[in-house]
């Protein structure tokens, strides 16, 4: 009976003529090695995840918060000091804005159609299908368009920024920029955060209009309402406050997605695993923050109504 630990090397001398004994020992070693290696891996994961004392976890959480605070403050400092990277900002606006149009068009259009289709039976019960345009426009402009655009952007743009900066970080490209006398924070972070902050409201407005178009197709299919009448009815109930609040929300969401993606990418460690973690964390944290911000902004805006 021998006990082997992970990465142990043991020399066993067996009589060359005794084949049965050889096979038996080999099989036993194979089984034990597999068992040991599995036990060891589980041990390591458990050690990493559970053995950290609570005080250290709390300390790590607050250190992380402070680090995010510093990162955000640095963004504002760098964003307003020259030199400005206008060409890179425009390139990022193109990447973030124009390249997201296809998915925003699809989701906005389908949301408009489906929401109209689902709302119709409830309004039809009261003979109030003529309210459909204003119902849809209120839902789209006040809530759906900013939220859907932000969630899609968190998935598409946020993960892209996190993974891109993460891989640049682990492959020393950010260090290379730094030693070549370029400020990588300004070139990589400021440009991306500004671009996502500027582009999200534009995408939101676009998503709302496409959603209304989808809604119109459904309304027109059932009631032969003209496009002019539909648009007129849609905007009857919409106030400037609604539009302002949605633009404000999208701007905040855009900033949140940009800064989260850049922070996660900038902090990425441990090679390719770190890149995956950065992309994943960006999406999860951005979505979480977007819902919190939605709740807060809605409360604030409603107090002005």
């Amino acid at each position: 009976m021998i006990d082997l630990c992970y990465s142990d090397q043991v020399i066993i001398i067996i009589h060359p003529n005794n084949k049965d004994h050889q096979n038996q020992v080999n099989n036993q070693i194979d089984c034990r090695l597999r068992q040991c290696s599995m036990e060891n891996r589980i041990d390591n994961i458990q050690k990493e995840e559970y053995n950290e004392p609570l005080s250290q976890r709390v300390a790590r959480f607050f250190t992380g918060l402070y680090s995010i605070y510093q990162f955000t403050i640095r963004f504002f400092k760098e964003a307003f000091t020259p030199p400005y990277e206008f060409r890179e900002i425009i390139r990022q606006c193109y990447n973030i804005g124009y390249r997201s149009l296809a998915i925003i068009t699809l989701t906005g259009f389908i949301t408009g159609i489906v929401f109209t289709k689902q709302s119709r039976p409830s309004l039809a019960e009261f003979g109030a299908t003529s309210w459909l345009p204003s119902l849809i426009s209120i839902a789209l402009i006040r809530a759906l368009a900013p939220l859907i655009t932000a969630l899609i952007a968190a998935g598409k743009i946020g993960s892209n920024i996190g993974a891109e900066l993460g891989s640049m970080n682990v492959s020393e490209q950010i260090d290379a920029m730094e030693v070549s006398g370029t400020n990588p924070f300004k070139f990589l972070v400021v440009t991306r955060v500004l671009a996502s902050t500027c582009m999200l409201p534009v995408l939101m407005v676009y998503a709302a209009l496409i959603g209304l178009l989808g809604s119109y197709l459904n309304v027109h299919q059932n009631e032969l309402t003209s496009f002019t009448t539909f648009i007129h009815d849609s905007f009857v109930r919409i106030t400037y406050l609604d539009i302002f609040a949605s633009v404000l929300k999208s701007t905040v969401y855009g900033f949140t997605i940009g800064i989260t993606g850049c922070y996660q990418g900038y902090q990425a460690k441990q090679g390719t695993v770190g890149v995956g973690k950065a992309a994943n964390s960006t999406v999860v944290i951005s979505m979480f923050l977007i819902f919190i911000e939605e709740m807060i902004i809605v409360q604030i805006v409603n107090s002005f109504r």
Binding site: P83, S167, M168, S171, E172, Q173, D175, A176, M177, E178, V179, S180, G181, T182, N183, F187
Partner: protein
Amino acid sequence: MNEIENNIKNQPPEAVISIKNLSKSFQDNQVLCGVNLDVLKGENVVVLGRSGSGKSVLIKIVAGLLRQDEGTVYVLGKDVGSLDIKTLQELRKHIGFSFQSSALYDGMTVRENLEFPLVRNKRKLMNKQVAEAVEQVLNDVGLLQTINQMPAELSGGQKKRIGIARTLILQPEIMLYDEPTGGIDPITCVELNHLINKVQKQYNTSSIIITHDLTCARMTGNRVAMLVDGKISRQGSFDEVFNTENASIRGFYNYNFIHQP
């Protein structure tokens, strides 16, 4: 190489990099403890050591990418550890850093990779001057034909050369090479060693070359420093360093296959 050694001997020694009592640790792991090293003007200093001995950490501290725990690093007369970001960026324009992984920007062509530092540091240059400078350095490293290729299309040796070209475009006074011959076939290694010597002559650079390749050390180093247990345990010419009974240094020497330059 002899010509450069004679020049160095004839001139009064002027240290462009001066490292005094440098220490650095990562959590409980003490990587460097009390490193002292001077690099004179026009000199190539090779720092040899085993993997994980802190060689890369040493030059990252010199370039200001990492902060030391103790000690001072003077580069061109400035204390790197005490500089603010702006002054450090100014200083970095005089330092070229060739990364172990080449660190070329994936999303840019070779031309754009080379233009990037030049355009950002010399904003008044005309497009034509930038293009000429790019072609000049690519010519110097012998890779003009790759100008429109993406980094993914290049071989490991070509990436290293382009990485060196990108640093040369700012005409640095100091070059820091991190494992210039790491992961490269022996023939390309020798070519890279010749390139390092060419850079020293043509651009009049002073360099720290981090490696564990003894062929590289012998071919490129005017002086060799051996990093053992976080300290420079021995320095001098290649033969002086390895003419010792010290077991770890002898061991390092014996396990390397040396090409005659």
